[in-house]
Symmetry: C2
Subunit: 225 residues, 2 copies
DNA sequence: AGGTTCAATATTGTATACAATCACTTTGGG
DNA sequence: CCCAAAGTGATTGTATACAATATTGAACCT
């Protein structure tokens, strides 16, 4: 991939995978687009091999559909899919938070606190880009389900967390939402630090319900225009 | 893959993926085993290309861990992982069942009924192999989360359903469990056919709790021997 | 004119060749 | 004798060549 100046983390395959995922999630490749290996290969400036491997992974994510001997077609997420995503997240992340409150190591607790502090800093500063908040939000949730001590939960929530990016971009760009996210995160953090499973569960439920409502409100407006 | 007489469904990649997944789930490749591409390539009699692609997918499933320029190492599932799996399934499949009760089309309802009928037939007949019941059980659950109308739920539960195979093999081999599974499935089926979301939710919760308890009891015995 | 067949072309599926990287051994110096 | 460093073998990462399959379009028949 022709990106001089950037350092390659991991293999080309990984990079292509992330690149394609981002392009689908951000709507660059829309639903129904057929991706021929050669075309993508030219677009990204690498050979077909890493492209194919990345597409295999996207297939498992459900972001593309592949049928043997045919080109892969982009699936993407509809607004309804995003809402379904919140429904699933509500059930899974509440579980993760409840477990994290009990299971997290001291180091993981410190990391979570640090992630929250960074969120506060970025939100206060005027040069806080949306993209930063997006990533910090993502990291906060990431730390929690990593701290749940459940490999299964981690495996399920990791991709879901990525998909949520699409919704975060919309959600966080509305005025006031980032402030609210911060408050909700604080309550979750407190509950986890206090090792209060039930409270962590409940605060996470509220947080995700709020996020879902926020997204729904915006997508309704967007659709009517 | 040198399997004369067998018809190839889909590509080599898919077949290798399924083969490797099965081998890991059935404990042929145990936790910590390093899989070099060349070795697997020789074992299955295909070139490295489809092997690599299959390994990419297994990585996303969390069944193997890959680090750049190093061999992939098998992760597999511990007993604790299996129990965590039931915890997740309980939350996700109850949701799927509740949604399916309302969302399923008439055709999907007929298919579910047919799947249940087949389970009854196989359970009654003496030549009912465990492997058949395993697959029928899997199919029953598959139909439900496909009928939930949520792409996200489907994407999450499909791999989980596969992983549950490992637990089903253990669980269904205990005397009486298959009869109980049948009864529980009947109650779920009824609730869905009656379009009773709450009942479907509750019956699914009970079903999975029973399965979890059954697995836990067995794994405890197995560990003590 | 419309449909069908067959050939040409494009695209995927697989194998292999080559480059980059890693792990291990062995050799040279202190 | 021990440690360091280069070299060697093994293994992954990438690219490309070839085979199998699908798609397209044009010519031919009805």
């Amino acid at each position: 991939m022709n990106m001089p100046g950037t350092v390659r983390h991991g293999s080309l395959r990984t990079e292509v995978y992330q690149q394609l995922r981002e392009r689908i999630l951000q709507g660059y490749y829309t639903h129904g687009t057929t991706l021929t290996e050669l075309r993508v290969s030219h677009e990204l400036g690498v050979s077909r091999t890493p492209i194919r491997e990345a597409l295999c992974q996207l297939e498992l994510d459900g972001l593309v559909m592949t049928t043997p001997n045919k080109s892969v077609v982009v699936q993407g997420f509809s607004d309804q899919d995003i809402l379904d995503l919140y429904e699933v997240r509500s059930r899974m992340e509440t579980l993760a938070a409840a477990r994290a409150a009990v299971q997290m190591t001291e180091e993981q607790r410190r990391d979570l606190q640090a992630a929250y502090d960074e969120e506060v800093r970025q939100t206060k500063s005027q040069d806080g880009e949306i993209i930063n908040l997006q990533n910090l939000d993502s990291t906060f949730h990431d730390l929690i389900f990593r701290g749940s001590g459940s490999k299964i939960l981690r495996n399920i929530l990791m991709p879901i967390n990525l998909y949520t990016q699409q919704a975060r971009l919309v959600s966080l760009s509305t005025s006031g939402r980032s402030q609210k996210v911060l408050q909700e995160h604080e309550l979750i953090l407190q509950a986890i630090l206090q090792r209060d499973s039930e409270k962590a569960h409940e605060q996470m439920r509220i947080h995700i319900a709020m996020a879902a409502a926020s997204y729904q409100a915006i997508s309704r407006i967007r659709r009517s225009t």
